[in-house]
Symmetry: D3
Subunit: 249 residues, 6 copies
């Protein structure tokens, strides 16, 4: 069974190639992976407003991806920007995002999880997402390593050191059974961390990617797909035409 999957780095990014290489190691048989980033816009989404700026661009990509017969698209930021919107305009394309998928996987592996964030600034929006997805009572804590997105891959030893330290606090003090790395740019660290900490450590980019493959399988086998009758009902083509919205997304 073939699967065409698109991973969207929803920022201007220099790590597209390394991300592609990284994710490709985890492909299922039959998966073709493409990774793209934005041509212009912010380089990280640490702000609510940066997230909002890129959503129309994400929607454009989603529409394009659907035309090009992709089976799935992943929105590669732990804020899950544009996830609801993308599912709404999608017609048969599966759309996933890191936070939602990480939490589903984490709560299957243990009762409660902690999310390691870069800065405390990230927490309010992430907490809203935790609650939105229904995992409020499974959230053990947020723990911050006090680093911005763009710093995470600079001194990877220091990053790892801080994650270990905060994750241990989450495990001992907050009762976390699973650790989620709350930024897709913390990719590459989880295996080492897992062996140090002895508990599952979820890499959010991988979670979103493999969950996308899984949902494509479910769609193909069983027709399980987003509710398109009410919650994710698409806007009509007439309206989009009439109001000239196609320039906008």
């Amino acid at each position: 069974m073939k699967r065409k999957v698109l991973y969207i780095e929803p920022v201007v990014s220099k790590i597209v190639d390394s991300l592609r290489a990284y994710l490709s190691q985890s492909k299922d048989i039959g998966t073709e992976l493409e990774v793209i980033s934005l041509a212009e816009g912010p380089r990280h989404l640490e702000y609510y407003s940066y997230g909002a700026l890129v959503v129309p661009k994400i929607l454009k990509i989603i529409k394009e991806a659907e035309k090009e017969n992709f089976d799935a698209a992943i929105i590669g930021c732990f804020y899950d920007p544009g996830l609801r919107e993308s599912r709404e305009i999608a017609e048969k394309l599966v759309v996933t995002a890191p936070a939602e998928t990480s939490m589903h996987i984490a709560t299957t592996l243990g009762q409660r999880f902690s999310i390691i964030v870069g800065r405390t600034k990230w927490i309010p929006l992430m907490r809203e997402n935790v609650i939105k997805y229904g995992f409020k009572d499974q959230l053990a804590s947020f723990q911050s390593i006090d680093m911005g997105v763009l710093d995470l891959q600079i001194d990877s030893e220091e990053t790892k050191r801080r994650i270990v330290q905060t994750a241990e606090k989450a495990i001992k003090k907050d009762g976390a059974e699973v650790i989620i790395l709350g930024c897709t740019h913390q990719f590459g660290f989880y295996k080492k961390l897992q062996s140090i900490l002895g508990v599952p450590v979820i890499d959010a980019a991988l979670a979103a990617f493999n969950y996308a493959e899984f949902l494509v399988n479910l769609r193909n086998k069983h027709g399980w797909y987003f509710n398109k009758k009410n919650e994710y009902l698409s806007p009509t083509h007439e309206e989009i035409e009439d109001w000239k919205l196609s320039d906008l997304f």
Copy 2:
């Protein structure tokens, strides 16, 4: 005390004039009101994706409003699109929106409220907002009148009839003590409804407008303003410059 207030109809709209006239009747002494709508884009925001398309436009307006020394801006759609984002980029501008403010007022007037929606399609996003703002346990129910946004002001008698009918169900069956009209385009109906139903009926546009005036007062008198140190910390001007984001918002 003077207050410059901007009401944003975040759609392409023909009712700007009637809205301005309507809201002006409720101004506090000292309030100057301006009402604007979008030059291009959707005419309603019944879809997640339409909401996302207009947020960058809202942010542009917010930034402009701040430069022009407005004291407050209201985002005039019951989905509260771009509320968090606007508060983040605002530096001293107060920003409010209909859903959040209606719920704060409603829960002060009675224990539980019901929201009258146009279509059931609106409910999932509105429920997420109810939960996000913390009012989950005060929500008695959603009740749908089965009409789209653009139909609401066509046959106002029919609209009123349906609202009365569903609101009575909300009161008797669901235990609502307060009714919220879940669309700013249901404006103008509340007084009549209130006298028929005998319970408070919140007009969401008025709620957002008067709450904005209230928050400006609190800001001016006490310096109470959004947390700008963490949750609503603004992006730096350097970053916006460097990444050429100013074209985007």
Copy 3:
């Protein structure tokens, strides 16, 4: 627009004059403020039972205030004693109280708040109120400064020092975006604290006072008032007469 507002210190109190002066600085145009305290009874309400003792006295005052054409009454204690009861017997008088209003304002300014209390003894009742008003998930924490009500204004430097210290814990450790001063006798401190802490600090007496003015405006403009049909339905005058309850309140 004129507004007659009564602030009730629901204890025997020596600070009526300083409170009047303090609150008067924050009046809206058109507000006439009166501040009264009790002739006999407790000097603080740190106990459930003290609160219960003063509620009949508060109700008497509420009834009197209504007869004297006050527009609003504020029950000036952070336990909000008699709030429900007062709204029930009120016929057109707006009644507010510090805890309820502080939490509404706080959750508009940031995602989560902490309440600074005098003693841990206060927490159980205040937590019940937080839950009753629906703000359980927005409560970051209670933090105690270990001082009784009557000590708060004795050595104001020490009081301030302790509030700063505990508020900083609330911000850093508990993730509070807004600080609420959980006693009306902590009045006068908030501005200084706000500049030290860099986050909004809600003075509960001011919150209740200005929210009362706001609700009077909403009542006058829109007829928005407590649900008097069910939840706050008043007892009948016949019953009160027949059972000679008028001596009791």
Copy 4:
């Protein structure tokens, strides 16, 4: 083991004798029961404000009961007026009330319960109590029989008929496993109802009475008594003396 128990009808009441006879049938060996009502005040507590009026009278009785070496006092109204306050001033006296105890018993007998109320007006305060005691998620529903407190014992056949009808709705439609009669004046009906409905039907007056006996046993055997160190810490005698509060309660 002897137990002196006082049942307080916290209203002016004509049913003291029938209540005493009724409750006496359920006494444990060793229990001495006294039933009293108020000399003046309201005849029912259907209003928040009526409840508040009688609390100081209840507190006076509680203090008196303690002096007369009662072991337990029951506050005989399903609103549980003055429960927290009474426990605070009590020093070794056990205090119980119908709503709290009924819910504890009900949730031991089945997963979810419904409360049969007289009027919908009662629901908001009772819901607050359900939440306060922590049983929000076990509440299947409130169902109203549309009768005032004073009507309940007039035509007992009609009362029974309506309770059966609403209880059946609660069982079938709302999934109630246990029925609670939400008024102590619905006493005497439960056994018949139980045999008709086939599910446990909790008489709130009996629940409070027998739970009081149980808590006295636990106090005597194990020293288990209300937390008097923090939550229910009593006011000091000095303060009560100094402020002449003893006249008040």
Copy 5:
């Protein structure tokens, strides 16, 4: 990648062959499927106690499966009997069950789901599981078709008719965006139902089976596996030996 998967019908069952055929249509490439049932015991698990009786038998099978190098085991009953216990004794075997997996999938496809049950008797235990897995706020409703487990496959037209009827109620009245068939013996119906209802309909047996394949992939690729350090820490072999527990499971 090869995967050996064991589906356990945890009852005495005549449908093992048809289940195997049914599930096999949905296998991933590389999956080998075995289906077994119990040699003795109950034929359905509609009772708490029947569930408890079969758990030791399930645990025996789990241990055996691990020895035989299975990669995953599915416990084929919507009560998820023995799920926690199996994960605890498993060392590298993935264990899934229908309720948990169905809810994870359902909440990815739409905001709220309803569960179609056979009898109302099933609801209390299933609600406990919904809450245990954290999906309380996403549960729209339970709807009962009033049929026992063993009746479901007798007159399949009648079963389908009833499911359609109750599912439509769940969608229209309760706001369900996704339907979960709350019994693995409702297998085979979902596709037809899906086309009638127009919303995703989750077959719980397939959900558990495909989720098991997914988790095996995650385990193999990333080492993501149940927390074996604390929550699912296995008992020591010494203890099992010493206490002769191996006869028991």
Copy 6:
């Protein structure tokens, strides 16, 4: 009134005699107490799986106890293994267990409780029970003394020292008003602890025992018993016969 009560140590145990002596000091007049343990099986239930192994044995005992006209049975482990199942097969026998009863008593004595556990491994299952019984919001915290079940009675001074230390943390840091000893093998300590800590300390074995006596009284006096019509409906004797389940329990 006579009451035959059976306390089941659901493990292989050497402390049956000391437990009997201990519990007997707290008997009500008329109670006959028997204490039994298992002939084979685990010696503690620190694992999910050990609990599952003993449930069928517990059910056998429950059935036997009912035949022998016991009035109540207590399942003596703080995990409450087999509680639901036992109530389902019971026909008139009252069944209680330590966790459920401790939490009911604790929440009557104070707002929030902490549970002192032996190891952090116990917490996930206990938290599930706290949530299942509805006491999530009254749980202040779990605190671990880092000792296994079988160590608790070895060096009782050390055990007590650790409990005091962690309980004080629970009181001061987590705001616990009541302490629950989360293991029936912590029996005997509570009185001393209570006098040191100054707050109620619940011995879980005693709680379950005395609550059982209480429920027998309620059953005898009022017919209040588990809902046997739906939630705890017993399996039919025919089915048990036909399927030869009587060997299993």
